[in-house]
């Protein structure tokens, strides 16, 4: 029984993203009961749910990185899209300059892009951990200049990545019914889960985010941990960039992963994580990311003007923030406490009435 309780407790952290998800599912089902239908197109699953899984691949990976950065450094990295643009540019550069494109080429290209991602992550990480610059400010630099760097690397022309393997990575491997990006994302999530299980990353990151002083006095170096989270973010950006560029088949410095940091931050917040750092839930962020993707597609399905989607999301974030704001929380608590008190008084009164009816006198002392 207590195991069930413990399980329920853990799920309660996920209340926010799950309830939003549930709401969206309901809305979609109202629109058309065939929401969950899945068909096979070109040998792969196709339908609303598979499309969501497909479309959110990059966002999920980025949200994982953002969760860690937020948890440890109490700030957000706004350069994740730009880092992805640069790393994918190096990937494309390598692949297009290779004599022939084999699986090995792609793999090496991928690894190179990850290294670039780590370097860029180190740039951000150094500014934040060593120079004590605030994360948003530090990452503002790459946000401003990143795409131009990517532009320089891919030579102004949107290079086209037209090889078989990229195609398979971006869409589907023949014979496998699930699209490749979904598989890649799942593998990534699995790796992250293993890392969390086999290292003390969670303990260290949470300690640093909650109380860096105490963490230090217990032997953890907050600077190193913060730096590490930015490195991880860099890798996440590289992986996301890799998936994005293979999906698109070409490298567009301007538009690849554009403004995705907004969705990533939103996913983290939606996942029940505090934007001020501390305890984190990767699962929450993952659900949050898929929820946002579902939100995007739901709005499209409801035939909302695509341009207006941005506004909707903006309003949604604002409402979310308002509900989560400390001031509102305090007000809500007051109201709830008041309600509890009134309820308790009612109960007490009811009891008194019973006493009166039985004994003929009130139990209360007359003042």
């Amino acid at each position: 029984m207590s195991r069930l309780k413990a399980y329920a407790n853990r799920l309660s952290h996920l209340f926010l993203p799950l309830s939003v998800l549930a709401l969206l599912i309901i809305i979609n089902l109202i629109k058309g009961t065939d929401y969950f239908s899945i068909t096979m197109v070109n040998g792969a699953f196709y339908g609303n749910i598979p499309n969501i899984l497909f479309g959110a691949s990059e966002l999920v990976i980025l949200s994982i990185g953002m969760t860690l950065v937020t948890a440890a450094s109490r700030g957000q990295d706004i350069s994740i899209g730009e880092i992805g643009a640069i790393t994918s540019a190096t990937f494309v550069l390598y692949v297009l300059n290779a004599r022939e494109v084999t699986l090995l080429t792609i793999l090496v290209g991928f690894l190179i892009s990850c290294v670039v991602g780590i370097i860029l992550g180190a740039f951000n990480g150094t500014l934040v951990s060593v120079f004590k610059v605030q994360p948003m400010v530090a990452t503002l630099i790459l946000f401003l200049g990143g795409r131009s760097i990517a532009f320089m690397i891919d030579g102004k022309v949107s290079p086209i990545l037209a090889n078989e393997i990229s195609n398979k990575i971006g869409t589907v491997i023949p014979g496998v019914p699930i699209q490749t990006p979904i598989i890649l994302t799942a593998v990534f999530i699995a790796i992250v889960a293993i890392v969390l299980k086999t290292t003390n990353l969670r303990l260290y990151v949470e300690s640093v985010g909650i109380n860096p002083n105490a963490a230090r006095l217990n032997g953890i170096d907050p600077k190193k941990i913060i730096f590490l989270t930015f490195l991880i973010m860099g890798v996440c950006s590289a992986v996301a960039g890799f998936i994005a560029v293979n999906k698109a088949g070409r490298h567009d410095s301007v538009n690849i992963l554009k403004f995705i940091m907004m969705d990533a931050i939103l996913a983290v917040a939606l996942g029940g994580n505090s934007l001020a750092g501390g305890k984190f839930s990767i699962t929450g962020s993952i659900i949050g990311a898929y929820t946002i993707e579902m939100l995007n597609r739901t709005l499209l399905r409801l035939e909302v003007n695509p341009e207006a989607i941005k506004s909707f999301k903006a309003v949604f974030i604002i409402i979310l923030m308002v509900i989560a704001s400390p001031v509102v929380r305090v007000m809500v608590k007051k109201v709830l406490d008041r309600a509890k008190m009134l309820y308790a008084e009612r109960q007490a009164d009811g009891l008194n009435n019973t006493v009166v009816s039985i004994t003929g006198t009130t139990g209360k002392k007359e003042d």
């Binding site: 450094s73 630099i141 934007l275 506004s311 923030m321 308002v322």
Partner: protein, 364 residues
């Protein structure tokens, strides 16, 4: 016990003024370098005036953002609001009831509405400014594309006349290839910039509100204990930022003549960079308002330099980023050299720093 200050101590330059002077010096150096390196492009007065003529909107946005930054906050919606206003005003002017005053009112209205929204949520509900104004930015962008996807050229005669209105400076000018003397031109947008600069400078230096903004930016907890209404001050700083963004939208329309969904893009980042270059610290409380236009000038000059040097325009963004980086590091070095022990600004929540050694609070 009375002692007289027999030796009048020479007061050290304030942080705000120091950073402002550095910004000014760097600008002069930068421009001087430009003059020497590319006299062909820069040796004309018109080039200087064109910096203002073509970028009036950016100057204006930077001013409004300056106020918010000094109060310790940030507003990244200003670019999007500017863009939204251009489209809304363009549509309004092209419609049957279009009028210039109406458009102006619309611009101010939209800007103020955003400012009030942000100000309320940030100051009174204590939500982080970054997220709220990011939401505002997306809201504005969304509204912009919803309103009208394609560019709208404003052909309304009164407006076109306003656009074309130029002030000529007869004694400054260049002789063109055909031998005609062409006097320097200043566009109406520049007038707006000058007026706003003067207005805001007076506001920040001489008004109670302006000084409260500095106080709140310096240490909001102290400001509260000193009797300042911190929430109200922060609220109005965002209203000002929004209002200014609205004005800039109108001026942008005057400059380019068309509403376009790309209008105002990246303005907020350029404005932040301009402010930082101009000596307005991101943590708040430090900065001279006149530094905002100087910083903008510097940023624009660098971009012009790059253009004159024949480098691709996309590098401009890298340069902005690099410049920002250099200035942030430079400023923090200067401030730490100047800084004394035990002195700290109270940092606003949106810029929660990574403090490893919180000062020890003695438990009583």
């Amino acid at each position: 016990m009375r002692t007289l200050n027999t030796t009048k101590r020479k007061t050290r330059l304030s942080n705000s003024n120091l950073l402002f002077m550095i910004a000014g010096i760097i600008f002069v150096l930068m421009y001087g370098f430009a003059l020497i390196s590319y006299p062909g492009s820069f040796m004309h007065f018109q080039t200087f005036f064109d910096l203002f003529n073509l970028n009036s909107a950016l100057f204006i946005v930077t001013l409004g953002l300056c106020v918010v930054m000094i109060s310790g906050g940030i507003d990244i919606s200003v670019g999007a609001v500017c863009g939204l206003v251009t489209m809304a005003c363009a549509m309004f002017l092209q419609s049957t009831m279009g009028s210039i005053w109406g458009a102006l009112l619309l611009a101010l209205g939209i800007g103020t509405a955003f400012g009030v929204l942000h100000g309320f949520l940030i100051a009174y509900l204590e939500i982080q400014p970054f997220i709220i104004t990011l939401g505002g930015m997306f809201l504005a962008q969304g509204l912009l594309t919803t309103l009208h996807k394609n560019p709208i050229n404003v052909t309304m005669p009164a407006f076109v006349a306003l656009r074309n209105f130029t002030i000529e400076i007869p004694w400054l000018g260049t002789v063109n290839r055909l031998g005609f003397f062409i006097p320097c031109e200043i566009k109406p947008g520049v007038i707006v910039v000058v007026v706003l600069v003067i207005l805001y400078a007076v506001l920040m230096k001489w008004s109670r509100f302006g000084r409260n903004v500095y106080a709140v930016g310096g240490n909001s907890e102290s400001a509260r204990l000193l009797g300042i209404n911190v929430k109200r001050t922060m609220f109005f700083s965002y209203v000002i930022s929004g209002l200014t963004a609205g004005i800039s939208g109108f001026v942008f329309l005057m400059t380019t003549g068309a509403g376009n969904i790309g209008n105002g893009a990246l303005f907020e980042m350029k404005a932040i960079a301009s402010n930082v270059i101009g000596g307005i610290l991101l943590n708040g409380g430090v900065g001279n308002l006149l530094g905002a236009p100087i910083g903008t000038l510097t940023l624009l000059t660098i971009n012009e330099l790059i253009r004159a040097a024949g480098v691709q325009s996309n590098l401009q963004a890298i340069v902005s980023g690099l410049l920002l980086y250099i200035f942030i590091v430079l400023q923090s070095i200067i401030m730490s050299l100047r800084g004394r022990r035990n002195f700290r600004f109270a940092l606003p929540s949106w810029l929660k720093p990574h403090q490893l050694q919180d000062e020890k609070k003695i438990e009583n």
